[in-house]
């Protein structure tokens, strides 16, 4: 594949995009998982699908070409805002926004897909990821999103961590919890839109949660959690892209299956280290 990466532009774009989302997906995912908001990623990815289907429909209807990633991103951000709105409307049922937005996203997707005259290869690529669909413009957009997301997390790291650990304490100590949470949910929407080219709508939440779930077994601190989950995600993305390319399988599938294997291995790792510790104590 490496000689092919040098020869073929599209492969280089895919590979670079993969490396970028291998950083930002688990970075945001670490906060999502510890806040027990993993399902939020699923809801937003389905709204993103509605946006992408809308983009494909517009493309077909008006014969203009633009990347449906833009409309996907727009829908994703609107979905994020709506989930927040529902969260404040149903204070006692804070998770209710997630199934509402998820089903709304799927419903809209079905309508736009039908209006755009059904499935085509483009849509298939958005559902399960693709090694060949990343254009140079997509790469620019995803790079811009990645830089923005990383900068925002670095700048607001301590506020995000404080809020994730204990929302009440964060509010009492004078942090603007609502604004920080809003920033967080918009960042999540952006990461999902960026990741869809490679892993696809249906599997994007896996890239945000599986490496974190594996890293959780090993990490003692939150910084370790972020670092380890990025390492594991990069491993899954790189091996997933290479194997997907050679086996002619959408990379969403290979990346997620490799992530699950990594997760299973992390269970064993935990057992081994526990045994060692016990051994240390006995000896």
């Amino acid at each position: 594949m490496f000689s092919d990466i040098i020869t073929f532009d599209f492969l280089r774009h895919t590979f670079l995009t993969g490396l970028l989302i291998g950083i930002i997906a688990p970075l945001l995912g670490s906060f999502l998982v510890v806040r027990r908001l993993s399902l939020l990623a699923d809801a937003l990815s389905h709204v993103t699908l509605a946006g992408i289907a809308f983009g494909l429909f517009i493309e077909k209807q008006f014969l203009i070409t633009f990347s449906p990633l833009y409309s996907g991103m727009g829908f994703s951000i609107i979905g994020a805002v709506l989930i927040e709105k529902l969260r404040s409307l149903y204070k006692a049922y804070q998770e209710i926004g997630i199934p509402i937005i998820l089903s709304g996203g799927v419903g809209l997707s079905v309508i736009f897909i039908a209006l755009a005259n059904g499935f085509n290869t483009d849509l298939f690529g958005f559902l399960f990821g693709s090694v060949s669909a990343v254009t140079v413009n997509d790469l620019y957009l995803i790079s811009a999103i990645s830089i923005f997301v990383i900068l925002a997390i670095v700048l607001f790291y301590k506020e995000l961590l404080t809020l994730s650990f204990d929302e009440e304490h964060a509010t009492v100590s004078g942090i603007h919890s609502k604004r920080i949470h809003f920033l967080f949910i918009v960042l999540t929407a952006l990461v999902i839109a960026a990741s869809i080219r490679i892993v696809g709508v249906l599997l994007v939440s896996a890239l945000m949660t599986l490496p974190v779930a594996a890293a959780m077994r090993l990490a003692k601190s939150f910084k370790q959690l972020i670092f380890l989950s990025i390492v594991l995600a990069e491993f899954s993305v790189i091996t997933g892209l290479i194997s997907g390319y050679y086996a002619n399988i959408p990379p969403g599938g290979t990346i997620v299956v490799i992530s699950i294997i990594v997760l299973i291995l992390s269970f064993f790792w935990n057992k081994v280290t526990l045994k060692q510790h016990k051994g240390d104590r006995v000896s």
Binding site: V34, R36, L155, F156, K158, E159, L161, T162, S164, F165, D166, E168, H169, A170, T171, V172, S173, G174, I175, M216, A219, K220, S221, F222, K223, Q224, L225
Partner: protein, 252 residues
């Protein structure tokens, strides 16, 4: 006269039609260790929420550090340990150092990063509660009593003048409760931190607190802890609405 840290004047509060607090007057002065006791549903936690600015009073005025509460901005001068503190997500991958650092987040402020002296302060707060050997342990692996010490350290790291604790000993085993109060006593005397502690366990509290108030919708008693322990059980039963037994702990 010592500075007033918290002052409530004629404060009322209701949830819907149900009046929870009525005409509450309270003055907590610098250096006090104030114990707030009373029956469940007597409005203790509501009072704390009002003082923390989480709920607005229906009537009356609240002053914090001599400033009206709606103009009060220096929340880092007040530390808070919630009764929910020990129901945190035990699987959260954070070290003691990371958790205590969170107490500085608001003080350091947006767009600023932790500096060397901030880290120094975090280590100092951790040793103040006697947990220096566990600074880099995962917080979920500590005992309930140790975790509560860490939450105190998180509240102390911003060097507050006032520490508010809402039922902090819930979930701590019996033997550790005394050690916990010893720590509070030391903070009050040696670090000169004013304390407001909410508890339904009047016995241990009166041994350490300098002052006690008893709240059941209105303030029924306001005085020092000797006077409180001298109250007749009949009088307390009247306040609580059911018979109570005051277990007197010796002042050792």
């Amino acid at each position: 006269m010592p500075d007033s840290i918290i002052r409530l004047d004629n404060v009322d509060f209701s949830y819907g039609n149900k009046k929870v607090l009525e005409n509450v007057n309270l003055n907590i002065e610098q250096g006090m260790f104030m114990g707030l006791v009373g029956p469940n549903g007597g409005g203790k936690s509501t009072l704390i929420q009002l003082v923390l600015g989480l709920l607005p009073p229906e009537k009356g005025d609240i002053h914090l550090l001599n400033k009206p509460i709606d103009q009060f901005k220096q929340w880092n001068r007040i530390g808070f340990v919630s009764q929910k503190a020990n129901t945190f997500n035990k699987g959260f991958p954070a070290t003691v150092f990371e958790v205590v650092s969170m107490g500085l987040t608001a003080k350091i402020g947006y767009f600023h990063f932790m500096k060397k002296k901030d880290k120094q302060r975090v280590y100092e707060a951790i040793s103040l509660v006697g947990m220096e050997n566990e600074a880099h342990s995962n917080i979920g692996n500590l005992s309930g009593g140790q975790q509560q010490r860490i939450f105190i350290a998180r509240a102390l790291v911003s060097e507050p003048e006032l520490l508010i604790l809402d039922e902090p000993t819930v979930g701590i085993d019996y033997q550790n409760v005394d050690r916990f109060y010893e720590l509070l006593h030391r903070l009050n005397k040696e670090e000169n931190i004013t304390l407001l502690l909410v508890s339904h366990d009047t016995g241990v509290l009166t041994k350490y607190a300098t002052n006690v108030v008893c709240l059941n919708k209105t303030l029924h008693f306001h005085g020092n802890s000797e006077e409180y322990t001298a109250l007749s059980t009949d009088y307390l039963s009247e306040i609580y609405g059911h018979p109570v037994q005051v277990v007197v702990h010796d002042h050792g």
